[in-house]
């Protein structure tokens, strides 16, 4: 079992950033976490760091975000993937329980591992972090 060392959280909700950080801490999950407010910032970051093998082990991705939403991020990510040294494990984590979104996530099989509905709890973390 490979340990997760780096994590990107892509979500436009700043409060969620704070809460998630604390949730990790309370559960004793020690991981190098970077927060992004939208897909665009995250994809730029991934592109910039592709040379130094710095892609994250895990990406937690929101659906509804300004500028570049979760779906657009996945499109962009699929484009840059061949240039990356490794593929990140991606979970979608959203407040949207719209079936359209949940079914759409299934279309990204091989890229998106699962779809979690907010709020995220300890049990969810256990599943996500025991790869």
């Amino acid at each position: 079992m490979k340990k997760i060392e780096s994590l990107y959280v892509i979500d436009d909700d700043k409060i969620y950033h704070f809460l998630f950080k604390n949730l990790l801490k309370q559960n004793g999950i020690d991981v190098n976490t970077t927060f992004f407010c939208n897909g665009s910032d995250a994809i730029e970051h991934i592109k910039e760091n592709k040379e130094n093998d710095n892609s994250p082990d895990l990406i937690l991705l929101d659906v509804n975000m300004p500028i570049m939403d979760g779906w657009q991020f996945l499109e962009e990510y699929s484009k840059v993937l061949p240039l990356l040294n490794k593929q990140s494990v991606i979970y979608m984590i959203s407040s949207s329980n719209n079936e359209v979104d949940i079914n759409k996530a299934k279309c990204y099989e091989g890229v998106v591992k699962d779809y979690y509905l907010k709020p995220i709890c300890k049990e969810d973390l256990d599943k996500i972090f025991i790869l």
Partner: protein, 506 residues
């Protein structure tokens, strides 16, 4: 002048016998009736057929004519019989009369008498004539009449008209109900085909042509088409026309077609009404479903945060709790704002009656620009207004303000730092619909990329501090609630044009 040459009789037969035999070959009863000035009728001659026709012997008929009157002729037809005979005698015109007889053997029979009177110098009148059995003919006539009446009444009850197209002369027979559809006098007519065709709704002509083609080319078993015709009152009536070719010439070309017209305006209007209702319900349903998703998503995100906060609050260190309370406040604020936005949306979408007033567009725009005076000045925005002074729109005042405010603040918000911002307001009529274009020279956006999400809730496309996204969403809802729509044209780093179509049809 002689009618006949003397017949050539070789076998000693008398001339009298010869004519007698000949006469007896005639199925009709032949007679001669004489009236004398003493006002007395007598039968001078009757052929042998009288035994068949009236079941009387020649002698009986000649000698006891009263038997015919009393025992054969129908009492109801007696008066007519004598009156028409008298008239013919007095006027010396042909005598024609149809009457019934009741025969002991054959029962009731219809007879027709035809005779020609001749006035003699002594004042007497001689009738030469015949009586024929027309019972069969009468029965046919009666059957035909019944069938015609059935046909006529059925069509009347069905409010169907009949058309009968003479394709050689290009004229059409229209029955009375067909003319009624046009609001004309209810009388059958034969008129040129164009008389009807010229009244057809322009939008239906092609449809009608296609239906005809489909039938003539064998794609349809019969001609059938629903279209509108203009009636005398200037109103269109919906008509269902059906028909078939009934005769062809030697070359196989159609020469005659017959069919029916049915006025289905009432059904059609209800159908249209129903379709409209379904559309409205459908779009309401869509809105409702969208709204449910918005509510679910937006409230869920706050509720989710709240739950997570409480979970970690329980296990938090004392010094961390202070910051968590600050976050709690932020969640509460966010929730509050969301609920206000949702309430606003509910008001737009589910308000049954939104008051509309005739508003001067230029006047309202000036008011908005006054409100935004400081912003405009700060950014040095150049404003250009091309709206006629008397241009009005039938709109809800609050919505009009909101729409103008939103597009104007948007244009200022997304102005380009590289050039002096410019906003132009242009009023125009497009296909009879009033429209206002609001054009800026700002940052613009990639329409293709954002096409589906442009007016979505909480969508922003620029890294702008004030970008909240809710504005366009609400604006769009307001414009649509007024029966209008918005078109967007934009090019990155060139500018954006929002075209608002006002709809004032109701």
């Amino acid at each position: 002048m002689e009618f006949f040459d003397m017949p050539d009789i070789h076998d000693g037969e008398s001339l009298n016998d010869f004519y007698k035999k000949l006469l007896n070959q005639v199925p009709d009863l032949i007679f001669k009736l004489v009236w004398r000035p003493s006002n007395f009728y007598s039968v001078a001659f009757v052929s042998e057929r009288v035994s068949e026709i009236f079941e009387l012997s020649v002698d009986q008929f000649i000698g006891e004519t009263e038997i015919f009157f009393e025992e054969r002729l129908f009492p109801e037809d007696k008066d007519g019989f004598t009156i028409t005979l008298e008239i013919a005698r007095k006027k010396l015109t042909s005598w024609h009369y149809e009457f019934r007889v009741n025969l002991p053997e054959q029962g009731i029979k219809w007879m027709r008498v035809s005779a020609k009177p001749e006035l003699h110098p002594n004042g007497s009148v001689h009738f030469y004539g015949r009586v024929s059995d027309v019972t069969e003919q009468k029965e046919y006539e009666k059957k035909l009449q019944v069938s015609e009446e059935r046909f006529k009444h059925a069509l009347q009850a069905a409010s169907d008209g009949i058309w009968d197209w003479d394709m050689c002369k290009n004229t059409v027979y229209f029955s009375a109900p067909s003319m009624k559809i046009l609001g004309l006098e209810e009388e059958e007519t034969i008129i040129p085909l164009d008389f009807w065709r010229n009244r057809m709704h322009p939008d239906d002509i092609l449809l009608h042509e296609n239906a005809r083609k489909a039938y003539f080319e064998g794609d349809a078993p019969s001609f059938e088409c629903i279209y509108r015709v203009l009636n005398e009152n200037g109103k269109y009536r919906w008509v269902l026309s059906r028909g078939k070719v009934v005769s062809y010439d030697d070359n196989g070309e159609s020469t005659r077609a017959i069919g029916t017209h049915k006025d289905i305006t009432d059904i059609k209007e209800k159908e249209i009404q129903l379709a409209n209702t379904i559309n409205i319900i459908g779009s309401q349903n869509n809105k409702l479903s969208n709204f449910a998703h918005i509510v679910s998503h937006n409230l869920r995100s706050h509720a989710g945060n709240l739950k997570m906060l409480i979970d970690i609050f329980k296990g938090a260190e004392e010094e961390e709790k202070e910051e968590m309370l600050t976050q709690l406040e932020a969640i509460s604020d966010g929730l509050y704002v969301t609920i206000i936005h949702l309430k606003e949306l509910v008001d737009i979408q589910f308000e049954v009656k939104i008051v509309k007033e005739k508003l001067n567009l230029r006047h309202y725009l000036k008011n908005i620009l006054n409100i935004l005076h400081n912003e405009i000045k700060k950014h040095g925005v150049n404003i250009e207004i091309n709206i006629p002074i008397d241009a009005t729109v039938n709109y809800n005042p609050a919505y009009l303000e909101s729409v103008l405010l939103n597009f104007t603040t948007n244009a200022i918000k997304y102005s380009s730092p590289d050039r002096q911002p410019m906003i132009s307001y242009d009023f125009e009529m497009i296909d009879g619909q009033k429209a206002l274009s609001i054009t800026d020279n700002g940052l613009g956006l990639d329409i293709k990329k954002h096409k589906n999400s442009l007016f979505g809730m909480y969508k922003t496309f620029h890294k702008n501090q004030n970008a909240r996204g809710i504005g366009l969403f609400i604006t769009k809802n307001q414009v649509e609630a007024m029966g209008g729509r918005i078109e967007v044209y934009s090019e990155v780093n060139k500018g954006t044009m929002f075209k608002i179509f006002f709809n004032e049809e109701d």
